[in-house]
Symmetry: C2
DNA sequence: GTGATTTCGGACTATTTTGTCTGCAATTTA
DNA sequence: TAAATTGCAGACAAAATAGTCCGAAATCAC
């Protein structure tokens, strides 16, 4: 799996919050229910996003979480970086320590190209774009089988 | 991490075996030492490659393992598929069950493009190419820090 | 102030991945 | 035939990830 489960949950939740187009807070509980994610687990994941400043939380009745800045200013990259770190954007495909331009592994060139594509993709993709897509056509966002 | 450790070990070992340009068998022990991988763990990984027909083993003094077919006919894809399976080539970025053309997730289009690039890259990259690169300039292949 | 709701923080359990160990099966060599 | 070398198979241990639970801390509504 390229992203950890925690990270995919975080992205899903972020998109969901952004897609509401409201400034009001949403409770983590309701997000977890909508997306079919374990509430307690999601709580911990979202804490990483608030600590990174991507979300703000309000610990109060009818409080919850909300985006820390405009959805158009939150990149997919920043969400991934806050949860999984930046390893996937820098790591050697073969996991070799010290692989780089100076001492490349055999797969280095191919992989560097892939990584930079992923890097720029994640940088230019914002929550605003993803949320808009989620709203158009009721795009799929929850961890539910299709039955 | 996009590939599991087991998978990176398997690829490294496969490249190493291919880079020897010999038909003779190599003991897993010596491969493990060269690449600085745990011998027993590598043994289990390579069993998956022999079961997939990518390698052949010879259980005998001075025996070991060897490629099951010409290095030019073993793709990076087949090695990855034998160890990690094909999930990374088909999975939704957000891990959503049932995400596809019919019911896409918001990141679907972007990700499908990345995946297909990865797919074709892994299909066109053969052990022969990687081994050749490894031989040119003594390219990096072992799990050793650079000191 | 009291009670309700909500996130925060840490401890805990479960599952998966990674790594280790031991004995066995196969086959050559002497 | 006996001994040595090698991969195979399964049991086991350790570490990382995923998921659960509970007691706070914060703040609003009354």
């Amino acid at each position: 799996m390229v992203l950890s489960k925690a990270c995919t949950y975080g992205i899903q939740a972020a998109i969901y919050v952004a897609s509401r187009n409201e400034d009001a807070y949403v409770s983590i509980q309701s997000v977890a229910e909508k997306l079919n994610i374990s509430f307690h687990f999601l709580t911990k994941v979202l804490q990483q996003l608030t600590q990174a400043g991507l979300m703000v939380s309000y610990r109060v009745p009818n409080g919850g979480i909300s985006l820390g800045k405009p959805a158009s200013q939150i990149t997919l990259y920043s969400v991934i970086a806050a949860i999984d770190g930046t390893d996937i954007f820098t790591e050697c495909m073969l996991g070799l320590p010290g692989c780089g331009t100076a001492t490349p592994c055999p797969a280095h060139d191919h992989w560097t190209e892939m990584r930079s594509k992923l890097f720029s993709l994640c940088h230019k993709t914002t929550l605003a774009e993803l949320a808009e897509k989620a709203n158009q056509l009721n795009l799929r966002l929850a961890n539910l089988p299709l039955v």
